[in-house]
């Protein structure tokens, strides 16, 4: 087959993007049209992939951080022969149940590397992707050897998280991470000059990157630039000057091309200007053939890789297969946790649950080689660093501990990239209050079913003197409200061990562990084979006789509930205590299970050092709640509990008032 001109191949992307957006009456034609040349050079000349197996572990990753330009990605997938994104799917762009949603979602379209759309997320998660490559290569050798390419936009680079991401990548010298910045100078409000005058090339250089400018429509310049980037010992950002909506006669170079259909007339004008004389969704045979060949270019590399993979020592191969390909967790987790629980029952510990988490991690590290710990510069406070975990440094990727820096969202996004790449179970720490900083990336994890663990310590006013800026009161509620986000707040060392098991065994989404700064008595003193936390709640202490009162509590307030139960017993009131390590998991149980745990005592009282919001689902609008009604304060923890009335007496009083009513 004759060579097909670069421009015609790029125009195929432009035409599909225009046609799909036009048919959907919705979408973003501007980016695919502007970035088509950059993408065409990358995919035809550099990207290592095999359309026949989009999940080949050693493929180069292509991350479209500017997710609104999703038609660029869908066009590339269709043109190169991906079996999931067919022409019918392109025609069904942005419709219900299509494989071509408005923004790319890796759970909808398995050939998509990562969910993007919220700006900055692709840029930031790509740091994790590139880091995963380095870590796996250090562990498994050159069976892992690929680039991570990111196509990003002005918006990605204006978002704050881009700073955290590129600072971390620059620090770690992730030389195989390459950003192609679609420098089109246009945002929704108009020309970028309305809002921004950052010199992005100088900015990236200040962050330790290799960076330079090119004409993003000059295919030779693009190819030269990518070659230069591949050879660099630092990550590279190539600022590709492009025209948004390239080819559109009146809208090119303006914000009009960004986020709406071009309209029939402008679309026709664009096709004419591009010399593309074909109907909607029509790709001429020579162009389609050339693209399909591109989709096969990596086939031999993949075959070769499979041979090399088979030649690995059996233990290495099995480990790689389990972690990277099958993405299963070791079966030894349950045993390790049961052993720890038995030890705790025989030698009870009055320790903070952050410390209990460290104990669990010490037990888990030897049996979970993919466990990758880290903290956003709160290592000594989060108790995330176990003795066995060596630091990852720019010169040594054989470690298992990441100093993420003071970059909560950057950490959470990198964790997404690490997990989505495959091979790692990232678990990163900060204070629970600062989940606010990480929230956009945590949401992507929940939406994309990314299994990561957030080790969130200092989980209430119990942190004391640092005061209300650091004391979460609404964060448990805000996290519980996120679909597919599991939130645990264990009461003691035994529950903490159980919650760690559930967190690591949950491969369907992210898990928050909310942990105390302050020491807590061990309330679980009896041996238990079963993981009692698995239903979200369970009866910790039965009532002496028929229960008149059920007391629900989480985390550090369980010991208060236990004390209240005793107070009530002395006063002749039969109360039971239900420990609720996970309110969301409890509410997710089937009706019968949930009802059995909640019980039918006429009075229900909950105690949690946080706002009531969400608890009515258990206790009802008439239930008693002892907790916070506003922000905390700066004082020693004991003073605060007293000041805010979160005490056993208050719980007992709330119960008695309702019994008397």
């Amino acid at each position: 087959m004759a060579q097909v001109d670069h421009s015609r191949m790029a125009n195929a992307i432009r035409a599909l993007a225009m046609d799909a957006v036009e048919k959907a009456k919705s979408g973003h034609p501007g980016l695919p049209m502007g970035a088509a040349d950059v993408a065409t050079v990358l995919w035809t000349q550099f990207l290592k992939f095999d359309a026949a197996d989009p999940h080949w572990p050693d493929r180069d990753r292509f991350i479209l951080s500017a997710g609104h330009g999703s038609m660029l990605l869908y066009a590339l997938l269709y043109l190169t022969g991906n079996e999931e994104v067919t022409l019918d799917q392109i025609k069904n762009f942005r419709q219900l149940d299509s494989k071509t949603p408005g923004h790319p979602e890796n759970c909808i379209t398995s050939s998509v590397e990562t969910t993007t759309g919220p700006l900055g997320q692709g840029v930031a998660s790509s740091v994790g992707t590139a880091l995963a490559e380095r870590l796996l290569q250090a562990e498994f050798g050159d069976i892992v050897d690929h680039f991570t390419y990111v196509l990003c936009s002005d918006g990605d680079l204006m978002e704050g998280v881009s700073h955290e991401a590129i600072a971390l990548a620059g620090h770690l010298k992730l030389s195989k991470l390459i950003f192609l910045y679609d420098d089109n100078g246009i945002s929704i409000d108009g020309p970028l000059s309305l809002t921004d005058n950052v010199d992005q090339v100088a900015r990236f250089q200040a962050h330790g990157w290799n960076s330079f400018r090119i004409d993003g429509h000059d295919h030779k310049a693009i190819a030269d630039a990518i070659r230069k980037a591949q050879a660099s010992d630092r990550p590279t950002m190539i600022a590709c000057k492009t025209t948004i909506g390239f080819g559109a006669p009146h809208k090119a170079g303006t914000s009009k091309a960004h986020g709406e259909p071009l309209g029939a007339e402008e679309l026709a004008g664009a096709k004419k200007a591009l010399g593309w004389d074909y109907g909607p969704f029509e790709i001429p045979d020579d162009v389609l053939g050339a693209w399909r060949n591109v989709g096969k270019q990596g086939a031999s590399a993949r075959t070769d890789w499979l041979t090399r993979f088979d030649a690995l020592p059996a233990d290495k191969r099995d480990d790689f297969k389990r972690r990277v390909i099958d993405r299963k967790r070791p079966t030894a987790i349950a045993d390790a946790i049961r052993t720890l629980k038995d030890k705790l029952v025989s030698e009870p510990q009055t320790i903070a649950t952050r410390k209990a988490s460290e104990l669990a991690l010490e037990a888990l590290t030897p049996v979970v080689p993919e466990l990758l710990l880290g903290s956003a510069d709160l290592t000594p406070s989060n108790n995330t660093r176990v003795k066995q975990a060596k630091d990852v440094t720019p010169d040594d990727f054989s470690g298992r501990y990441i100093h993420y820096g003071i970059r909560e969202m950057g950490m959470a996004a990198a964790m997404n990239g690490l997990a989505m790449h495959g091979g790692f179970a990232p678990a990163g720490g900060t204070f629970l209050c600062f989940t606010d900083y990480a929230r956009p990336s945590m949401r992507v994890a929940a939406l994309s079913h990314v299994p990561v663990v957030y080790i969130m310590t200092h989980d209430s006013i119990g942190l004391g003197e640092d005061g209300p800026t650091h004391q979460p009161v609404e964060h448990l509620a805000a996290l519980r409200a996120i679909p597919n986000m599991r939130v645990f707040r264990p009461a003691d060392a035994v529950e903490t061990a159980e919650c760690w098991q559930l967190a690591l065994e949950n491969t369907n989404g992210p898990t928050v562990l909310a942990l105390s700064r302050q020491n807590l008595a061990q309330v679980r003193t009896a041996t238990s084979e079963a993981n009692l936390s698995a239903t979200g709640g369970y009866e910790l202490i039965p009532a002496p006789g028929k229960a008149q009162v059920s007391i629900f509590a989480t985390g550090s307030e369980v010991e208060i509930a236990v004390a209240a139960q005793k107070l009530l017993e002395v006063q002749g009131v039969a109360a039971r205590v239900v420990s609720v390590p996970s309110l969301d998991l409890l509410l997710a149980q089937d009706d019968a299970t949930r009802a059995a745990i909640i019980g039918d005592a006429p009075v229900k009282v909950a105690v949690e050092a946080a706002v009531r919001f969400g608890w009515d689902a258990v206790i009802g609008p008439d239930g008693g709640f002892v907790g916070m009604t506003g922000f905390g304060a700066s004082a020693p923890a004991k003073d605060l509990y007293k000041h805010f009335g979160i005490t056993a007496e208050a719980v007992a009083d709330a119960a008695k008032r309702r019994l008397a009513a």
Copy 2:
């Protein structure tokens, strides 16, 4: 009185910080000790302030972004004679009800400019502070003419929001904004080199700033640098190389000095090394006297200012007094809204509530001169720009519209600074989903009682094709959970007008307006003098006879509730509809008011295109809920409502099932 040596004055800060942290057994001595020289030069030689009136409107602002170093600020306030922060308060550092909480809070300590502690917040809000100065000067002339100084740390500059902040400040050429970066090279995990190698000076230069390095312990260099910064036509960042915990014999220059008491021995060693031979909290007379004189240095400037202020034309003076000093909103708001409501009742509008918000803004702009609109690059989508509002540009600060760029947290933080400075009612827009990005600054607003308005459009799956990355489902719950955050989701143009009134009249905290992308029928068709939204909920449609069912709905689902009510009536079921523009405000009513609105119909059903979380407080665990149980999807809005079963039929069915049970 003899001149007191700079070092002795700086050592007074160091000693107070060490002593207070030691007594509290908690806190951060390292920053105050390291930055004492920088702060001493700034306060003694440059800062325009008068301790006798810490609220003088034209004072220079000093923002301690590194809020953990709060003892630096408290020491300066005490030493200069501030009446609020006395020596007793210093001795009571971090204790309940003190004026010296762990991190500075402007609501606890009125002489504190802004609440800091969550890293990056001071840096980012300072952009609003400096912008307020420019805007007010353009409006009122040189009655407003001050600098904004920010003392910031590595952590502030690692946080992503710092990027958004400095890019915006650089773009706007806020030349009177001066950052003093405490470049001590230490973070909690250890030396900064563990996590970071950003060249901060080059970085700021790439963002359009003037920036250079100095020795942060050389008082002459510090003074020269500040003079240079004052003369610059761009914002300036001075990287001051310092030693954390300066003076501490063993802990200086290490992370050990950062966040814990030095301990008796190290403290004694430090005092010895500093030549500070005084007991705990003891400041020798000469030093205290010198500092007290510093506190009076600005007195004549303030007197002069008062004279100039009195000479302003009466209308200007009154306007300035109302907006900047008394911080009251115009009384004309209520009239403007009532007029708009009457017009809407006479000519009903089927429009999106984002469009209704634009109508309200058109009505409000002429009577609320402090209204400062803007958007994080979604101006045409958020409908935030009214015709009357001219753009603010780097060359013209007489406008009332800010293009914040794709910087949601940067916008929210700048709004905090604008509001806290005084003179403005900032209202900024983005998509509701991206409140996640802005959340840390929104929390500061709630905690600090900052009156700002968030115009959050595209508030549900009703946004359609952009899909789940852009569709909020948990955000209403997550925002309602924040104490002192008012969340409105109006049902139509009339409610939108009412909610705008309530938002602007709420000077005690921030307000979220959640607005639809899609058109909504006008459900409020009768004239109403009263603002019905003021109780959070109200009966929109009474039941035909004794109510068997109460249907609660918000925003775009109110019209679904209305249709369901009709369906039920046809089937002989008497239902009423309660519109709930603000669930949190409804729940905050006194028991009797709330009970009357909720009513005593045996069956309760709520409908909201979001998760149920929080609604049980109204409908109870047995109530019916029609809404979302997970994330949304990409498709036209109508298809999505059908797909997710958010329909009048589903609401009626939920009611009937419960009636039959």
